[in-house]
Symmetry: D3
Subunit: 136 residues, 6 copies
Amino acid sequence: MFRLTVRDHIMIAHSFKGEVFGPAQRLHGATFVVDLELQRPDLDADGIVADIGLVGQLLSSVLAPLNYRNLDELDEFRGRNTTTEVLAQAIAERVRARILEGALGADARSALAGLKVTLRESHIAWASYETRLGTG
Amino acid sequence: MFRLTVRDHIMIAHSFKGEVFGPAQRLHGATFVVDLELQRPDLDADGIVADIGLVGQLLSSVLAPLNYRNLDELDEFRGRNTTTEVLAQAIAERVRARILEGALGADARSALAGLKVTLRESHIAWASYETRLGTG
Amino acid sequence: MFRLTVRDHIMIAHSFKGEVFGPAQRLHGATFVVDLELQRPDLDADGIVADIGLVGQLLSSVLAPLNYRNLDELDEFRGRNTTTEVLAQAIAERVRARILEGALGADARSALAGLKVTLRESHIAWASYETRLGTG
Amino acid sequence: MFRLTVRDHIMIAHSFKGEVFGPAQRLHGATFVVDLELQRPDLDADGIVADIGLVGQLLSSVLAPLNYRNLDELDEFRGRNTTTEVLAQAIAERVRARILEGALGADARSALAGLKVTLRESHIAWASYETRLGTG
Amino acid sequence: MFRLTVRDHIMIAHSFKGEVFGPAQRLHGATFVVDLELQRPDLDADGIVADIGLVGQLLSSVLAPLNYRNLDELDEFRGRNTTTEVLAQAIAERVRARILEGALGADARSALAGLKVTLRESHIAWASYETRLGTG
Amino acid sequence: MFRLTVRDHIMIAHSFKGEVFGPAQRLHGATFVVDLELQRPDLDADGIVADIGLVGQLLSSVLAPLNYRNLDELDEFRGRNTTTEVLAQAIAERVRARILEGALGADARSALAGLKVTLRESHIAWASYETRLGTG
């Protein structure tokens, strides 16, 4: 299996509901360093998993609506905690949808097997969500 | 699959038996930067893999009996080399036992699928042990 | 010159005033990985710059009032942008004041020559503030 | 599963053919920080995945013919793009062949389950190739 | 003193002349992760060392003529070895000239005291060049 | 000013005397990732601070007597705590002496202005010692 990863980041504000979150129930924020990993069993004719330029643009475009935002105010997360885990999944699902729409080309759409999104919230904690991408 | 990772570290002394270890047969030591990864197919009602505060405490409590110790003097490792691999497994098994005892709550005990412990011994070498956690 | 550095972090929300900040004028947030460096020409009788345990507690106690906060709501930053630079200075000045009050002991108070606080806001940007500590 | 990883690096020149590569069609170069991960279900009698000294030598010897080279001039890559993905696979396959020849000893040859080679080309992009090693 | 740093990177090919360079006399290449640090005694009215967006653009524009190039073919380096040290200085001098031309604004031009450019060529080697910027 | 840095590491055992050290009074150990920085106002005729191959060998040879050792048993540290700070100075002084003996060549001996040794003991703590090298 081949894996290709590109890194970007977002800076957001949010708060959590639930006693388990302690002081993080207050409005605070985070820098999430975001790693998008694409998985593919075989390379394309150019010898790549995907066009790394397009992958970077895709990740950046998926992150844009979240970046420099208070996530508490976004409709799509209404009633949910935007934990690192939830955000990793939300970003992964958006990337997945965009790939299935052809954002990385027809070849990548059919050939990519899976993807993983990792959000690093500090030097001592990070979370990821991994999902299959193919139709198989 | 979701994965949540927290980082801690220990500083230990030890020696190895066996010619394969060369100069590491002498009493020496290491800082191990320890990453504990928990794996879970679905998030809990709060949108998390586990309470990250409890995970940090669990890791710290498992590492405490090893930290600032000469591992050659510990009964549990008598007759064994405390290699990075052996320590990764020992730490993972202790974490696993503590989770099965409920250290991360009843929900995490039944919902966590696996865990992985990685020990980084330098900027150029590390080892890990991954095991299933569930009853499945 | 000797330098000793310890690392901690905070997760905060804030917004900026001024067109130069573009989208960062909106309420957003950041994880700041904070490095506190202490400088000292000669070591103490124990062979250290300062008691690293005390240094870690000092940094943690200085960061506590900022951690998990919306900095826009704190009196001390009223009317100011809590940029990475401003925060580095604010943290450094508090550390400095605490050291001069004796938080690291009488020896450190007189012997430390300077300190530097670095705040890493992402994998591609960081800022620091360095100041003298001694009376010289 | 146990995993052991060692790190090394190479500095190479190359160019790519294909419009997808944009400015990377020109002769340019890269530092690849190379991580070799070995996977093994159970440890050997010494408590290790493999002799880390031998693993480091093996990786270094596999990298030597590539290091400080213009990859465009090497016969083995004639007509192919030496992308990060292609190089990860080429290095992994050479390591695999050397292990099957006994470079890490008879025990490792039969007991290792798989390996993964990751090439980090910058602080924001990396690629890997993972393959099974055993006969199973 | 305040310091602000932003990170970017280039991927280049080159060769060196001189026996001291051993195998690096051959055409090879490198990824240089480039850190640009700006130094300033006092912050501007917005509470910053400089507009970080402009700093990133400035660094990127200075790196552009080098990126994805064979440095052996560039006129400006004719007859010189493009070592990490030489490149760090060349990049720093170009940044300095652009700042003096006003690329970061009139305020930054007069207020910045110095700058430092660091080029990381691998996980085990890096070099930097630091210079004064002001007229003082 | 130019600065060139190379990285290596050692793995040692030791114990400390003094209540300030708490549990570190017990025999324990550390991995120290060691960065040696050389400072020089102007480059040599080859465009370098020093022959990086020689610098790496010099650092490695200075670290060798410490590596895989119990520092409590070494004569040179008898009666002293081998703290991170003390070791940084000891390594720096040995490097300095070797450079003055000509280990990096006659040119480097006269042209190098200073050096700095940093020992990273974990992901959250490090210490350094910087000294002048020249006769000036």
